[in-house]
């Protein structure tokens, strides 16, 4: 087995929101109730779930773009969350992020050249010639013409902008990229182009990925292992194929069944999940999923099931599988 690159232990984040008028009340939204996972060198690890499950918060919290409330993020054994300022800056080079929205993620007033050169300049990675050379090679790598350096983001299409975003993440030679829904905003044909580009980076550079997505098909294509999140917790984790071919958690099953497949013969298998995702402000007692779960038992209403191993490399948080184990 390859070495662990990133280890996340019990990462927590609660947002405090003041709302209401004229009487404001303070509510706490538990976005992350302690999630843990490991990503090996060169591995693509998927984080899937529906909106509000905390998957994006997880990506941002581990990069300290949102300060987490607790937990550990160990990068090659070194805690990223407690790293002092200068060390944090060094570590940041190794962990980069690619965003969903290729429009919002680029500064409209900076040329592509400026955007790509700036991180190297800030980290003093070489003189002007070296920086230029690196910018050119990264543009080649993401499939953009070199003339792009002179242009502004708005002169590019969505897919090309996403390539610029990926190029920016690459210039610092990171080892891990947090890809937050990197293809969700793109058209189907462009989505495939970007996925193939990321595939290439994974193979050529040996990059690790934390790949956050709501699209199970994309995750199955890109990730070797996957964790399914529901209301701030991981409910199931394991090898992607095994999880999607034989989901154990009822939520994973529902998610898989609800994911549309381009095959008219597959529509009959669509089992439908009742109800909507509960509020993270006031999550249901016990297992958060029990109000929608077709298999809910009395125990599910009071006790949150622990995430436990049920097979080699597979973990699930569900009382149904407690008994089996």
């Amino acid at each position: 087995m390859t070495a662990t690159l990133l280890e996340v232990n019990d990462l927590q984040k609660t947002f405090t929101v003041r709302r209401g008028f004229p009487r404001t009340e303070t509510v706490h939204v538990k976005a992350l109730s302690g999630i843990s996972f490991r990503i090996a060198e060169g591995e693509a690890f998927g984080l899937v779930g529906e909106s509000g499950c905390g998957k994006s918060t997880a990506g941002r919290a581990l990069l300290r773009l949102i300060e987490p409330d607790g937990g550990q993020v160990l990068y090659r054994g070194e805690n990223f969350l407690t790293a002092p300022g200068h060390r944090l800056r060094q570590l940041r080079q190794k962990l980069q992020i690619v965003f969903q929205d290729p429009f919002a993620s680029l500064n409209p007033r900076r040329t592509v050249g400026q955007t790509l050169a700036e991180p190297m300049y800030v980290h003093r990675l070489g003189n002007r010639e070296e920086i230029q050379a690196r910018v050119e090679s990264v543009l080649d790598e993401v499939g953009l013409p070199r003339a792009a350096v002179e242009k502004y983001p708005h002169e590019f299409s969505g897919g090309q902008r996403q390539r610029i975003g990926i190029a920016r993440a690459l210039v610092l030679e990171p080892e891990l990229i947090v890809a937050d829904e990197p293809v969700s905003a793109l058209d189907v044909s462009i989505q495939a182009q970007i996925l193939l580009l990321l595939d290439g980076l994974k193979v050529r550079r040996g990059l690790s990925f934390l790949f956050i997505s709501h699209d199970l098909g994309v995750v199955r294509h890109f990730c070797k292992r996957v964790a399914v999140m529901y209301l701030g917790r991981i409910v199931e984790e394991g090898p992607t194929e095994e999880i999607f071919d034989g989901p154990l958690h009822p939520y994973t099953q529902a998610l898989r069944d609800a994911s549309p497949v381009p095959d008219p013969r597959a529509k009959v298998t669509m089992a439908r999940l009742e109800g909507e995702v509960a509020s993270a402000i006031n999550p249901p007692s016990g297992c958060h999923f029990h109000p929608r779960c077709p298999h809910a038992m009395d125990r599910c209403r009071v006790e949150y099931p622990k995430l436990r191993a049920v097979a080699p490399g597979r973990q699930v948080a569900c009382h149904l599988h407690d008994m089996a184990a």
């Binding site: 529906e50 044909s189 098909g217 890109f222 439908r272």
Partner: protein, 335 residues
Amino acid sequence: MSEQAPVLDVQGLTTEFRVHGEWHAAVRGVSFQLARGETLAIVGESGCGKSITALSVMRLVPQGAGRIASGRVLLEGRDLVPLSEPEMEKVRGNRVSMIFQEPMTSLNPVLTVGFQVAESLHYHRGLGRAEARRTALALFDQVKIPSAARRFDDYPHQFSGGMRQRVMIAMALACNPAVLLADEPTTALDVTIQAQVLALLAEVREAYGMAMVFITHNLGVVASIADRVMVMYAGEVVETAPIDAVFARPTHPYTEALLRSIPRVDRNTTELQAIGGQVPAISNMPAGCRFADRCALVEPRCRVQSPPLTMLPDDPRHHVRCWVRGGETSVEALQ
């Protein structure tokens, strides 16, 4: 072909938009028929003209910037194109309704959802206030809004995205339309909610005997809801066929490539194939086939002359616009 006259018959619809002072066709020569109770899915990527087609049917193309240049839109035998705006207002939300991707923008944030549905009933069907309210409440039940009576007087922001879409569906059903146009109604929703809304749409279509035009970019969604598919590319119809034929035998190179570029959840995609390049700009359409620049099968003639929509020899319901893959008989010539 069909036993009865189609509820919606669009013939040679061309809608143009003004770009830098010149008119360019965003939708060119689109024709389709819709039978009672049938669901037609219009599929394509952004900019292919699928939404403009629906907006043209509703006569909601922004005035000044766009115009219907030619074609007829026959709703139950009556051409909508020459109708005046006041006449059209009576048709809209009455015989033909439309739901959109983002229901929040279609609902007035300062009025309660119940009031808005009842208002539509009051306006179009001339029901009294009390009766409109009763009917609206029944509609809420029908679209499965939980504890409908309690939530009737809530405001749109108090509803989740899925619930708002249900409200929109209730509003669209209010006048028992003959045709429902659904423009990416589930795109903004989570998959489990999407499945619920798709099921609901299939159910109400059955119950009301409506015909539905379902616009989406998601071929997975198409597979689960449509009877027939119309694939659009750069403003033109490139392939039309019954649902099974499209997936079993995608014939236009674009349809085929599109299907190969989707990673699937139910099996390993060994080879993901991307379509290189981009959709040409509306103001810069190539002379021949509009897909030629991205096509793997491109031949010299494709770049010279635009191919007609043709019927496949062994399946008269399967139409393809392609020099290489298409049949001999032009569909347009038949009409």
